[in-house]
């Protein structure tokens, strides 16, 4: 499907073909930067909920393509506080800018924005629903490390660890990976296991999902170990949370027998789940992963603004 003028709201809207296109354009832009590609274009960042990483990375992406940025980073400073509807804020921003990147605390906000916007909306996170550009950058990172991912020649083993029940980055990446030749491992605290529906979707596509018991096992059996944060509010009992938190912590010692090529990813911010001694190993890859947000978001901006097709 044509990208020019398109909204990027949910991974559901992106086909395998779309994803491959985004990856290949991101690669081109990373290898051959185009500092003037979006000169004359203006991006509005409407962040109704604070987010450092996503906003900075979009702003950097736009600036490095020669575009300009306006926006707000905190709903308290805007007319939302005066009771303006989301639809009206979007209609206003549409008059000023060529593309809108938004983050909002409520699920479905970006989709609602597309109903009134004549310019492309890129979803930078809507509540606990979707964060499609994170998934694109995760996929880009994996493909950069293991180029065989997209030509399906080798099977890649990806382990997911952490809150697999509610973690939206996990769910989106999981679904995106189902397009490719992968094997999936999961490890999660009791009560935060991957919902059965995901395992069923994988099985229907001939992809196996295996539950492992320890982080060490997950690390030893995989090519990619995708870690996520545990959120205290998911645990009814704070004592239980403390207990799980201390048992769910990856350290360098657990990586002794891992494959040399194992890479550890994390959407960040990390809290306790990765000990800092892991940072010094060749397996740590979460900071380069964050850096990949730039070419991927550049690709998306250039595509929806119709400057690359």
């Amino acid at each position: 499907m044509e990208f020019n003028g398109r909204h990027i709201v949910s991974l559901r809207d992106l086909s395998k073909e779309d994803l491959l296109k985004i990856l290949s354009i991101a690669k081109n832009l990373e290898e051959k930067p185009q500092p003037d590609l979006l000169s004359g274009f203006l991006m509005a960042t409407l962040f109704f909920e604070p987010s450092t990483r996503t906003r900075l990375s979009f702003e950097a992406a736009m600036s490095r393509l020669g575009g300009r940025v306006i926006g707000f980073a905190d709903a308290n400073s805007t007319s939302q506080k005066k009771g303006e509807s989301l639809a009206d804020t979007i209609r206003m921003a549409e008059q000023y800018a060529d593309v809108i990147v938004m983050r909002h605390p409520h699920d479905g906000a970006a989709r609602l924005a597309t109903e009134v916007s004549g310019i492309p909306i890129i979803n930078g996170g809507d509540g606990s629903n979707q964060h499609p550009t994170q998934t694109c950058l995760d996929l880009y990172t994996i493909n950069k490390l293991f180029p065989n991912l997209i030509d399906d020649s080798d099977q890649l083993t990806v382990a997911f660890a952490g809150d697999l029940r509610y973690g939206r980055t996990v769910h989106s990446l999981f679904e995106a990976l189902l397009h490719f030749n992968v094997k999936i491992l999961t490890i999660a605290p009791k009560g935060l296991e991957l919902p059965e529906s995901f395992t069923q979707k994988a099985t229907a596509k001939g992809i196996t999902v295996t539950v492992v018991e320890t982080l060490q096992e997950a690390a030893e059996q995989s090519d990619i170990l995708y870690m996520t944060r545990l959120q205290e509010e998911r645990f009814p009992d704070p004592v239980e949370f403390d207990h799980v938190k201390s048992s769910y912590r990856l350290n360098a010692r657990m990586l002794k027998n891992a494959k040399e090529s194992l890479r550890i990813l994390h959407p960040l911010p990390r809290v306790n789940e990765i000990a800092t001694d892991v940072d010094e190993t060749e397996h740590a890859h979460y900071f380069p992963q964050a850096g990949n947000g730039i070419p991927v978001r550049q690709a998306l901006l250039a595509l929806v603004l119709g400057k690359i097709s």
Binding site: S10, R12, S85, L86, A87, H104, P105, H106, D107, G108, A109, R111, L112, E115, D126, G127, S128, N129, Q130
Partner: protein
């Protein structure tokens, strides 16, 4: 009513009989469908010919509008709609399930944007039996009959 079997609920000359409703949704359905001046008869926990408990709603004098039909499709997709003229059933329809339910239900996800902004809701049908729908905005899936009507 000589040749007919006796009715547990009053016969109507003209109107609509909604039959085979799930008993637990019958009262709710009656409340939702009723217009202020309607003459309505409600039967609950009747036993159908197949031996299962059902509810029946009879509305005298009128047929259902499109809005009511969609509301019923969401609450009770297995119900039948009988049109009565001169005391006789002149047509019997199964409820047809639309591709999407537009602006008739409220999203059960408390964090869904549709519960904060003045906007329409839309639920896409992802499975018909049992009826499962997905909120177009927050993308969560729900059993059709678990949703509250707007």
């Amino acid at each position: 009513m000589s040749a007919e079997r006796t009715r547990q609920v009053e016969a109507i000359a003209h109107g609509t009989v909604i039959d085979h409703l799930p008993p637990e949704h019958t009262l709710k359905a009656a409340t939702v469908l009723a217009l202020p001046d309607d003459q309505i008869f409600i039967g609950m926990n009747f036993i159908s010919k197949k031996g299962v408990a059902k509810g029946v709603i009879k509305i005298a004098g009128r047929e259902l509008n499109q809005m009511s039909l969609s509301q019923l499709a969401l609450m009770a997709p297995e119900a039948t709609i009988n049109i009565i003229r001169d005391y006789k059933v002149v047509s019997k329809q199964l409820i047809s399930i639309p591709k999407s339910f537009d602006n008739i239900a409220k999203c059960s996800n408390p964090n869904c944007i549709t519960n904060f902004q003045n906007c329409i809701t839309k639920f896409e049908v992802i499975e018909k039996k049992p009826l499962v729908v997905r909120c177009f905005h927050c993308e969560r899936s729900f059993q059709g009959d678990s949703l509250h009507l707007r």
